[in-house]
């Protein structure tokens, strides 16, 4: 990325070509912006989009995605930040341009690590899903064609031949409905999330997807493309980072997402090992409670479990010495003797604390990381029980933890709608006997902290759910505390040009 101070390049495309550039209000972000923009605009676009994505995140863990309330709040926010909020408005060139450019700027900030990419992809997908669902049928067809995802609809004859299989593969479908419903023949690569859970018929490498599920196909494609693009952008990062003006801004942007940093050891040493059993029942989220129980029962945890649980314990304040003692005392009750423990396992615990290997001080896993990466297999206890357990097993587990039948039904309903964090919040409410959590859950350590706060009486219980404004406050307060690392707008020459933004997004 280069700055030119001398010459201001042709900024805007000529009026008559504007329409060509953004034929749809919804975008797939395939082409990076080719125009030059000023550093001031760069910054304000980026911050606005970050605000928007923070809202998307908070709404997603506070309301049922796709519900009326969720949609209304999101629309308000889009309107307020001057992104296009309705699909049909014709003359919204500026909004479309802002959408386009701001998306690409955040790519630069959020390609830098696995965690950042995961966060960014998740929020962009939620935003995209909302906007796609707002399209009319006709616009959907047009849009699919525009992004080259128009699939062949199966003929009446084929549909009749496959009717039984289609009915048995597509939940909630009756024989009558099948006649009016359009089915598309989609290669299995494009329908991963549908065939994974057997929601579609799969035959000879093709899935048969009902019109109503096409949003999943588009999202799948969106995620694949975005994730590849971010990986490519990451490669050109050294060039971006060497730019002394952009680098602090991008760093600031990328640090704004996490909320509290649970790797900061403000609690260190405040926990004693003897209390963990009691805490695991009172204040651990279900994922950690499950890990703790498995460890006590089996005197062992596999690697995925040791990472997830070990880092969580570190986050709630276990020191390295305590951790070594804790794990060792449990493991030697099982098949591992003290010597084998010191040789085989102590390393990975010191590693968690940054004392071995690359010496990275590892951060406790967020909900998103647990939900999206490294699913557990046979004999594993890590992962998110709301995401990774079979609903029937989850039910059994909740019953054994004495959750009321109505509570269990509510949780399972949320799980069914894939609202895993909301399900976990419901679990919090039920186990703490409150009507409202009063926070948007996105981290197991946050769960723990909130629980402790509540149990020690340090929190006003009947608080209203957090408003989206919170996120902005957080952002702006962070901005002021971090102001040394951010280019203050007064330092920026307003007409400084950024040239060749597209250079960082070239195809492989």
């Amino acid at each position: 990325m280069e700055f030119t101070r001398e010459k201001r390049m042709k900024m805007r495309l000529a009026g008559d070509r504007r329409g060509d550039q953004y034929p749809h209000s919804l975008q797939f972000y395939q082409q990076p912006p080719a125009e030059n923009i000023s550093l001031a605009e760069f910054e304000s676009f980026a911050i606005d989009r970050l605000k928007l994505l923070k809202v998307v995140e908070n709404l997603g863990v506070s309301y049922v995605k796709g519900g009326e309330e969720y949609k209304n709040k999101l629309q308000q926010e889009l309107r307020k930040l001057k992104f296009q909020y309705r699909a049909l408005i014709e003359d919204d060139y500026d909004a479309r341009r802002k959408d386009h450019i701001s998306h690409f700027i955040l790519r630069l900030a959020y390609c830098q690590s696995e965690d950042l990419r995961r966060w960014f992809i998740q929020q962009e997908m939620d935003l995209f899903r909302y906007r796609f669902n707002e399209l009319t049928d006709e616009l959907v067809q047009k849009f699919l064609k525009y992004i080259n995802l128009s699939y062949e609809a199966i003929s009446k004859e084929v549909k009749e031949k496959l009717a039984v299989q289609l009915i048995n593969s597509t939940p909630g479908l009756s024989g009558a409905k099948i006649e009016e419903l359009m089915f598309y023949k989609v290669p299995l690569q494009d329908a991963m999330d549908l065939f994974r859970v057997r929601r579609v018929y799969l035959l000879d490498a093709f899935t048969y997807v009902p019109h109503t599920d096409m949003v999943a196909i588009v999202l799948n494609n969106f995620r694949t493309k975005l994730s590849k693009a971010l990986a490519l952008t990451a490669r050109s990062l050294p060039a971006v980072q060497s730019d002394e003006r952009l680098q602090p801004l991008l760093n600031h942007l990328s640090h704004s997402y996490v909320g509290p940093d649970y790797s900061i050891q403000k609690n260190t040493g405040k926990i004693s090992i003897e209390h963990i059993d009691a805490l695991s029942v009172k204040s651990f989220p279900l994922c950690m409670r499950q890990l703790h129980k498995a460890l006590r029962d089996n005197h062992h945890l596999r690697h995925g479990g040791r990472m997830q649980y070990g880092l969580f314990l570190k986050g709630i304040g276990l020191t390295l010495e305590q951790a070594l003692q804790f794990w060792k005392s449990e493991f030697i009750k099982g098949k591992v003797d003290a010597d084998k423990f010191d040789k085989g396992y102590a390393y990975s615990i010191r590693h968690n604390y940054g004392k071995e290997g690359k010496r990275t001080d590892y951060t406790p896993f967020s909900c998103m990381k647990i939900i999206l990466s490294n699913p557990p297999s046979q004999g594993d206890y890590h992962g998110c029980p709301f995401r990774h357990s079979d609903p029937e097993l989850l039910k059994q587990k909740l019953q054994s933890f004495k959750i009321s039948p109505t509570g269990i039904t509510q949780i399972l309903e949320l799980v069914k709608g894939m609202h895993y964090q909301l399900a976990c919040q419901k679990y919090f409410q039920l186990t703490h006997d409150v009507d409202d959590t009063g926070f948007s859950l996105n981290h197991p350590n946050q769960y723990f902290a909130e629980s402790q706060k509540l149990l020690s009486g340090g929190r006003d219980v009947k608080k209203e759910p957090s408003e989206p404004e919170n996120s902005q406050q957080k952002l702006s307060s962070q901005k002021s505390t971090n102001s040394c690392s951010i280019p203050n707008s007064s330092n920026i020459e307003g007409d400084t040009e950024l040239e060749g933004l597209d250079a960082y997004f070239t195809e492989d």
Partner: protein, 419 residues
């Protein structure tokens, strides 16, 4: 069959790698017709040497180089990994992050230890002809789905040499699959869920997906012989209580199974009793409607290790590698004769070497082969042993891939001519 002593490996391996390992078809397999540039060269191999010394990221300029190295190092075990962006042997010289696994066969690992809660005959690494049926069922179920549902052509099923089977799916398109797609596939193929503390591991709900009904129709023919007669899962109180534990409480009350089971003679009769009761009380959409199928699946349905299949860079024991504990060669399984495959008939390295000795003694008497080139002699060497039929299965698999590759090329050039 000659007994195998792990301590004899250092003596036997050199002979095995010099005279018996099927380098020809093996090299042909992993070169994939030489269509993609440096495909073989970018493949990771890893050797396990004596005393568990593990050497990763080995790669070779050609199958001949691999052969030379195998004969030099005589590895206890050989694993095959992914095809990387760069030669694995040079992975240290490549900028970090740039060295990435690009392609690999889709692999499945089915291990008998994962069935310990439903086997009464053996546990952990042990197997016997009774529980081997579980592997037969697993292959039938997974292979059908791969062919019919996933449209896959080239599968190599291999006995691991000890307690399980591996599958290598080798189609060109499948080797390019992302790890997300691989884990989606494993999830599609998984019905048994939950760890050791989960009682009921299979839960079916309406509608029953065609994958499940087709799998059931493959499991059912084995169920009586295998589970009721062989494993005798309703044979005594202790084991039928495990089955009864799978019946939801609200129907259990109606069934009075625990009172009636002791009056019946054997597992077959008790299963009939259970089925009759279920038919009588079957309620639409109630949990328990599919109880009979759920029990069958819990006892018989394949259990896959998702970690092995998901990661592109995950290593898997190579076909024709010797299992260092049992001495048995990891051999391909002929699906045409799947029900007759006997893991205990798979030759051990010591048996093969003794066969070779006998054959050579006979030939020495004739004294006519001395001038023959080494390579030619070796092709014939394994033919003198009981490894021969397994190598033939392997060759057929590689030939079939060659044929369809040529078919593809022909089709493409025909198309070009048309234009």
């Amino acid at each position: 069959m000659a007994g195998f002593e792990p301590s004899s490996l250092p003596d036997l391996l050199p002979l095995y790698y010099r005279r018996l390992f099927p380098y020809g078809p093996y090299g042909r397999w992993l070169s994939y017709g030489g269509v993609v540039k440096n495909y073989f060269q970018r493949r990771e191999f890893s050797f396990t040497l004596r005393d568990d010394i593990y050497v990763r990221y080995q790669s070779f300029a050609s199958p001949q180089e691999l052969e030379k190295e195998m004969q030099k190092m005589n590895p206890y075990k050989i694993d095959v990994g992914a095809v990387y962006s760069h030669r694995p042997s040079q992975h240290n010289t490549v900028h970090m992050g740039a060295f990435q696994a690009q392609e690999k066969e889709l692999v499945f690992d089915i291990d008998m230890t994962d069935y310990d809660d439903v086997r009464r005959c053996c546990s952990s690494a042990e197997i016997c002809p009774k529980c081997w049926t579980l592997m037969t069922i697993a292959i039938r179920v997974i292979d059908r789905a791969l062919v019919e549902d996933f449209g896959v052509k080239h599968r190599l099923w291999v006995y691991s040499g000890r307690r399980g089977v591996h599958c290598w799916v080798c189609d060109d398109s499948v080797r390019k699959w992302s790890s997300n797609l691989r884990s989606a596939t494993v999830e599609y193929l998984t019905l048994v869920k939950g760890g050791p503390d989960t009682v009921k591991k299979v839960n079916l709900t309406d509608p029953i997906h065609p994958f499940i009904s087709k799998s059931l129709s493959l499991v059912e023919p084995y169920f009586r012989e295998y589970a009721l007669v062989g494993q005798d899962i309703l044979g005594c109180r202790e084991s039928w209580e495990k089955v009864v534990a799978l019946v939801p409480e609200h129907i259990l009350l109606l069934f009075t199974l625990l009172q009636e089971f002791p009056k019946k003679q054997d597992s077959v009769q008790r299963w009939e009793l259970l089925r009759n009761k279920m038919d009588k009380h079957r309620v639409r959409n109630s949990p328990g409607r599919w109880l009979g199928s759920e029990i069958m699946l819990q006892y018989c349905f394949p259990r896959l290790d998702i970690n092995v299949s998901r990661g592109l860079n995950h290593l898997l024991k190579s076909p024709f590698s010797v299992h260092p504990k049992t001495g048995r060669v990891s051999v391909p399984i002929d699906l045409q004769k799947l029900d007759h495959f006997d893991p205990f008939a798979v030759p051990t390295i010591s048996y093969l070497c003794s066969e070779l000795d006998t054959a050579n003694e006979e030939e020495d008497g004739e004294k006519e082969n001395e001038m023959e080139p080494m390579a030619k002699r070796r092709t014939r060497d394994y033919k003198k042993t009981s490894l021969a039929p397994y190598v033939r299965v392997f060759e057929q698999f590689v030939d079939e891939m060659d044929r369809s590759r040529k078919g593809e090329l022909l089709k493409r050039s025909d198309l070009q001519r048309d234009f």
